[in-house]
Symmetry: C2
Subunit: 162 residues, 2 copies
C-alpha cells in the first residue's frame, strides 16, 4: 500500500450498505464514507460515486437506507461493492424488506437508518448526499460495527490514491 493510502486509512470509517429506491426500482451499494452531520435535524451525509449503478435510482427516488454492517459481514460488503456488474441484481439472494421509505433494509443488518435526500453537493469525483433521518432501528445492540480498516484492500481502493 502506498504512503498516501496508508495515511488515509487513519481516518476511521464504518462499512455500510446503502439501499436506494425509486418506486419499484431498488438497488444497494457498499459505502464507507458516511458520517453524522447534524443533531437538529438529524442528518447523515454519504459521499457517493455518481458512476455508481445505483446513483440514478438514488437521485430519482430521493429515498435511501444506511444499513450498518457488523464485524464479520465481509460477504455482504463484497456483494454490494461497486465492482459488481451494473446488470447484476445485487439484492437477489439476500434477505431484505422495504423500509418505511421504500428503500431496502437488509434483514441481517444489526442497525439501519431510513433517510430522505435533502441536499446534494458535488465533491470532487464524488457527491455529498445529505439525508434527513426519518426512521431507523437498532436491532442488535451487542453487534460490533464493521470498520473499514478491517476490510484490508478488499475494494482495491489503495490503487486510487495513485
Amino acid at each position: 500500500m502506498n504512503e498516501i493510502a496508508a495515511l488515509f486509512r487513519r481516518l476511521s470509517h464504518g462499512v455500510y450498505v446503502i439501499g436506494v429506491a425509486d418506486g419499484e426500482r431498488r438497488s444497494a451499494f457498499t459505502a464507507a464514507w458516511v458520517t453524522q452531520a447534524s443533531f437538529d435535524p438529524l442528518l447523515i451525509v454519504v459521499s457517493v460515486n455518481p458512476q455508481n449503478a445505483s446513483y440514478d435510482i438514488l437521485r430519482a427516488g430521493r429515498a435511501f437506507t444506511v444499513n450498518v454492517l457488523e464485524h464479520g459481514q465481509t460477504e455482504l460488503a463484497r456483494r454490494f461493492g461497486t465492482s459488481s456488474s451494473r446488470d447484476h441484481d445485487k439484492l437477489a439472494g439476500v434477505s431484505w424488506h422495504a423500509g418505511g421509505n421504500g428503500a431496502p433494509v437488509l434483514d441481517d443488518a444489526p442497525a439501519y437508518f431510513e433517510c430522505e435526500v435533502q441536499d446534494r453537493h458535488p465533491a470532487g469525483d464524488h457527491e455529498l448526499v445529505v439525508g434527513g433521518v426519518v426512521g431507523g432501528r437498532l436491532l442488535d445492540p451487542d453487534a460490533a460495527p464493521m470498520l473499514y480498516a478491517e476490510t484490508g484492500d478488499m475494494d482495491g481502493s489503495s490503487a486510487l490514491f495513485g
Copy 2:
C-alpha cells in the same frame, strides 16, 4: 443513553483535533464527524458547529489540519472539546507547531492532514466544510486510531438526541 443516541453510535467515527489558523490567530477543537469524500482530488469533509469558538478563524483563514488521535489520547480529546471556554487558549500547554498551511499540528498526533477549505454547505445545526488535502504525514503507523464509540458520553452528546 436514549434509543436514538444508541442507534447513532452505530455510525463509526474517529476522534480528531481540527486545528485552524487565520494568520497568527490559531485554535483547535475536537471533532468526530469527519470523512473522506473524494479520491481525485483528495477531499475530506468535516461537519462543524458554527457556534464553535474556532469557527470564525476557520472561515476567515480557510486553512485547517485534521490531527488523528490515537487510542488512549482521551485527555487531548477532552481538552479541545467544545465545552471548553471561549476565552481559554486551548493550545497553551500542548506541544504543537504550525503546519505548511499555518494551522496547528499536534506533535503527539500519530497522523495529520493539512487542508484548504474548498466549499462550505449548511447542514442543519452544523456546516459541512470540504477541505482539499494539500499535505499530511503518517508519523506512527502502529498507532491505533481512537474511535468515537470508545469515548462513552464524554462530550455529553447523548442529551442532544432529545
